[in-house]
């Protein structure tokens, strides 16, 4: 079991010049306990990705602190691994090279890494695709390769930014199942961002519903479904209650965002993002 705790303390982040400045995140606090799978859901465009970038260390908050194991996060590091919305596998490296990339950068011994990479790839079911380039893998395979690439670095915290978005329903379900098994096996602290409620309920220990911009915690729902999870649990009344509650909250937030955006440009932005 991983012992890593993530503490987000009163952070704020905004973008734009002084006249068009918008606070994406304002005075936001959250704790992810050790060995917990915490899922964030929120209306689209509420600042989830900004939050992920801050936790990963790609960006710094304007105010406040993010602590991982009581150490402040100031730059990207291999104690946190991000799996992005779209594949970030490096196109000019084969699957196995991609997986070995991190440890090799840090100068670990090649044989050991190769052995571990092979083991991990077998585990995610890509044993036969080691020498293929990312472009030759299907969407689901790419996600699995990415999971392997993240796990080989033994991160204290995994950050998943809508990792299964864009997959077809079938492989999405398979990936969710695969991922939940993996989590139950390793028990690694996990911050999972999604906009799918079913996915959120299926995976989460705790479900955090985010409000519209500026992002704040609207409500935290403890998901008390037993582990190991399976999809049948989603049909139980308990899961249904969770879903109903979360749906209502999200709907409220979405309506709010529609009403408050008096500026037509905001609406256009939202539309063009959806279509483009």
């Amino acid at each position: 079991m991983s012992e890593a705790t993530l503490d987000i303390k009163n952070i704020s982040k905004g973008f734009g010049e002084f006249w068009s400045r918008e606070e994406i995140i304002l005075d936001f606090s959250l704790t992810v306990h050790a060995g917990e799978l915490l899922v964030l859901v929120g209306p689209s465009g509420c600042g989830k990705s900004t939050l992920v970038n801050l936790v990963a260390g790609f960006d710094r908050p304007d105010t406040g602190k993010i602590l991982l194991n009581n150490k402040e996060i100031t730059s990207p590091g291999h104690d946190r691994m991000v799996v992005f919305q779209e594949t970030a596998l490096i196109p000019w490296q084969t699957t196995v090279q991609n997986v070995m990339f991190g440890p090799l950068l840090r100068g670990e011994s090649r044989e050991k890494i190769l052995e571990e990479a092979n083991r991990l790839l077998d585990k995610v079911g890509l044993g036969e695709f080691k020498e293929k380039f990312p472009i030759q893998l299907s969407g689901g395979m790419q996600r699995r390769a990415e999971l392997a690439r993240a796990m080989i670095n033994h991160p204290d915290l995994m950050i998943m930014d809508e990792p299964f978005r864009g997959l077809d329903a079938m492989s999405r379900e398979l990936m969710q199942e695969f991922f939940v098994r993996l989590f139950e096996e390793t028990g690694r602290t996990n911050l999972f961002v999604t906009s799918e409620i079913d996915e959120a309920i299926f995976l989460a220990d705790r479900l955090v519903v985010l409000s519209n911009r500026p992002t704040s915690v609207r409500k935290t729902i403890e998901i008390k479904l037993p582990r190991p999870r399976d999809f049948l649990m989603l049909r139980e009344t308990e899961a249904y209650e969770y879903k109903k509650e979360a749906m209502e909250l999200l709907h409220e937030e979405a309506i709010k965002s529609f009403k408050t955006s008096g500026d037509r440009r905001d609406f256009l932005t939202a539309v063009s993002k959806k279509t483009g």
Binding site: E17, F18, W19, S20, T269, S272, K273
Partner: protein
Amino acid sequence: MLETKAPTGFALTFYRWKKNLKTPTPYLMTFGIALWIGTYYLFCEGWELPRFNKIPGPYVVITEWLSRKPAWGISLFTEDYHGHIVASCRRIVIAFGIATGIGVPLGLFMGWSKKFKDYSFPILETLRPIPILAWVPLAILMFSGLETPVIFLATLASLFVTTLNTLLGVESIDDSYFRAAKCLGAKSSDIFFHVVVPGSLPFIFTGLQISVGVAWFSLVAAEMVSGEYGLGYMIVDAYMNITYVSMVIGMLTLGFAGWFTSALVRWAGNRMMQWRVRALALEGR
């Protein structure tokens, strides 16, 4: 939330300017230009290094360029200079106009009709690898006089670029638009005017920008080999008459003219494709 009214017009420009001045960029850029001109000056005029002393330095060039009574015959105020510029620009306008007038429809038809492409594309691809300069003697033979061959060469170069880019543009259009149009009951001609033409515009304008550059490139080549007026001829003439200052003026003028025309095409393209610019702006690019 802090909401201040956005500054507009001059205030906005001033604000950006002020902000930009806080970064090292403008100072480094000024330094870069100064470094370049300084080196050029020292090598050619200051220290007069061997071989460099044959090239006129920046001081001589600038004073000559701005003088009302130029020592070597070419300056901003001489009619010869204006004549050369006008001659070259006139040729570019004609060549670019013809190339666009033929190339864009040709490329559109090639993309629209597979049969037409099958027949025309191989001929185009056979002629394309031949450098424009290699056409010079043939152009002189085929067209009488001095003006027509020069325009022909510039047109030919532009034509290849424009046609191919237009074709690429049509081929880049997503199939689903064609299907959607067909489902909505569009006729073949409707598809051409409402899908093919607007869909390939971005590529066409990229092509036109390259094509202007290529037209200048081959125009200069053609004017240098055969010609009576024009900036290319001016450079060669200055070289033959050993008035090297005019030669450098010619080069700089060419650079400016090339930059200006491609900026013009870019501007026209942005005007014509407002929908695309807006889409890009909304995505925050």
